[in-house]
C-alpha cells in the first residue's frame, strides 16, 4: 500500500540523509483492558492481540509477526491508550540496527 502510493512521489534529493525513527514498544500487561485502540489506530499495523491474559482476563498487545522494525515511533498507540499501558521509546534506526 505504502510502496504503491510512494511511486508517485518525487524522490527527495537528500533522501539518504532522511531518517525514519524506530520505536521500541513497551507494554504494561497488568494495565491493559484490551480495548484494541493501539492495534486499530497504528498507521503501520505493527501490533496484534496477544495470547496471554492478565489478572483481569485481558490480552495485551504484542508486536505482529515480522513487524518489529515497522514501528516509526509516531506514538499514536501511547497517546490513545486510556490505561497508560503502552509507550514507545524512539531510537535512531540506523544506529540501532548496526548495533
Amino acid at each position: 500500500m505504502n510502496s504503491i502510493s510512494l511511486k508517485f512521489v518525487r524522490e527527495p534529493i537528500n533522501k539518504h540523509l532522511q531518517k525514519i525513527p524506530l520505536g521500541i514498544i513497551h507494554v504494561i500487561p497488568e494495565r491493559c483492558k484490551e480495548c484494541n485502540y493501539c492495534i486499530e489506530l497504528c498507521p503501520r499495523d505493527v501490533l496484534k492481540v496477544g495470547e496471554e491474559r492478565n489478572f483481569k482476563g485481558y490480552r495485551w498487545p504484542v508486536i505482529a509477526d515480522g513487524k518489529a522494525l515497522d514501528c516509526i515511533a509516531c506514538k499514536m498507540c501511547e497517546w490513545i491508550c486510556p490505561e497508560f499501558a503502552i509507550f514507545v521509546k524512539e531510537v535512531d534506526r540506523t544506529e540501532w540496527i548496526k548495533s
Binding site: 507494554v27 497488568e30 494495565r31 483492558k33 484494541n36 504484542v62 508486536i63 497517546w79 497508560f84
Partner: protein
C-alpha cells in the same frame, strides 16, 4: 540481547508518565474503551508541557465516572459534590489567583445538575479552565438521559428515543462571552492536548467540550458496544472547522451528520479578577 528487544515488545511495569498519575490506583475503574483514560493522558501531557510549575496546577472534579478524574492525577486534586466543581473552582481561583485551576468533569455534572454555575462562571469570565467530558449520558448512575443526550438517542429512561433537544455547548459558551471555546474528541489526542495547553494560557474562562466514547453506557443503548465503534464513528463523521458557524454545531450522533471540531473562539476579555481589582482600587482598598 539487543536483537531480542527489538523483535519483541518490552514488558514494563511503569510508564514514563507515571510521575503525573497516581499509579497505585491503576488499573483505574473506567470500563474498557472508555474515553476518560485518554482525556487523563491528554491532560497530564498538557501539564507536563505547560510553562506553569506542576505545584501550581490543581484539578477539581464533581461526581460521576468523569468525576473520578481528579483522583488519578498526581497534583493537588479536589473531588467535590455533584454539579458544584465550577463553583468550588471559582472560589479557589478568586482566593488564590496564582493557581492554574482546571475543572474536568462530566456533562451531567457540569451542565445538567450544575448548569447554573457553568452559565454564571462564564458570564463573569472567571479565569478557570473547564474541560467537559461529554458522553451524552449520566453514565455512573445507570445511563439516564440528560441535557446533552441527542434528540432520539436511546438511554435507560428513553428506550424509544430521547424527546428533548440537547445543549449546543460551544454556542452557549461563546454566547456568554468565553474567551476560549473548543471541541475535540478523544481520537484527536494531539489537538486536544494542544487545546488544553492553550486553555491553560488563556486569561479568563476557557472551555473545551471533549466528545468521549462510553461503550458500556451510551453505547450499549445505541449500537456502539465497543470503544472502537465510537472511534470509527469519529473517523467517519468528524470535520475540523475552526471558523464554524456555532449555530450549526449541535451534535445528533446520527451517521452522516458531522461532528464539527475546532478551536472555535480565541479572544481576549477582562477577567473577573481584573474587574474586581478595578472596583477595589476605586473603593480605595488597593493602590
Amino acid at each position: 540481547m539487543v536483537e531480542v528487544q527489538v523483535l519483541r515488545e518490552v514488558v514494563s511495569s511503569e510508564s514514563p508518565r507515571d510521575d503525573l498519575i497516581r499509579r497505585e490506583r491503576f488499573p483505574h475503574i473506567w470500563c474498557p474503551g472508555c474515553g476518560l483514560g485518554t482525556v487523563l493522558k491528554c491532560y497530564v501531557e498538557a501539564i507536563a508541557s505547560s510553562d506553569i510549575p506542576r505545584d501550581k496546577h490543581v484539578i477539581v472534579s464533581g461526581i460521576g465516572c468523569s468525576g473520578r478524574m481528579a483522583g488519578y492525577v498526581n497534583i493537588d486534586s479536589y473531588h467535590v459534590t455533584h454539579g458544584r466543581p465550577i463553583a468550588f473552582a471559582e472560589g479557589m481561583k478568586i482566593v488564590r489567583p496564582d493557581l492554574e485551576v482546571t475543572v474536568i468533569s462530566g456533562d451531567g455534572d457540569l451542565v445538567t445538575i450544575g448548569g447554573n454555575h457553568f452559565i454564571h462562571a462564564i458570564r463573569r469570565n472567571v479565569d478557570i479552565n473547564v474541560f467537559l467530558v461529554n458522553n451524552f449520558i449520566y453514565g455512573m448512575t445507570g445511563n439516564q438521559y440528560g441535557s446533552t443526550t441527542p434528540l432520539g438517542a436511546r438511554s435507560s429512561t428513553s428506550p424509544y428515543g430521547c424527546p428533548e433537544y440537547p445543549f449546543n455547548l460551544p454556542l452557549l459558551a461563546a454566547a456568554l462571552g468565553a474567551p476560549f471555546v473548543a471541541r475535540w474528541t478523544t481520537l484527536h489526542v494531539r489537538q486536544l492536548a494542544e487545546a488544553m495547553k492553550k486553555a491553560m494560557k488563556v486569561k479568563g474562562f476557557a472551555f473545551i467540550e471533549i466528545i468521549s466514547p462510553c461503550p458500556v453506557g451510551f453505547g450499549s443503548y445505541n449500537e456502539m458496544r465497543e470503544g472502537m465503534d465510537f472511534i470509527k464513528f469519529f473517523l467517519e463523521n468528524c470535520i475540523v472547522d475552526h471558523n464554524a458557524d456555532l449555530n450549526k454545531v449541535a451534535i445528533s450522533m446520527r451517521p452522516g451528520d458531522p461532528i464539527i471540531l475546532g478551536n472555535f473562539v480565541e479572544r481576549e476579555a477582562p477577567t473577573y479578577h481584573d474587574l474586581e481589582r478595578e472596583v477595589f482600587r476605586k473603593a480605595g482598598w488597593l493602590k
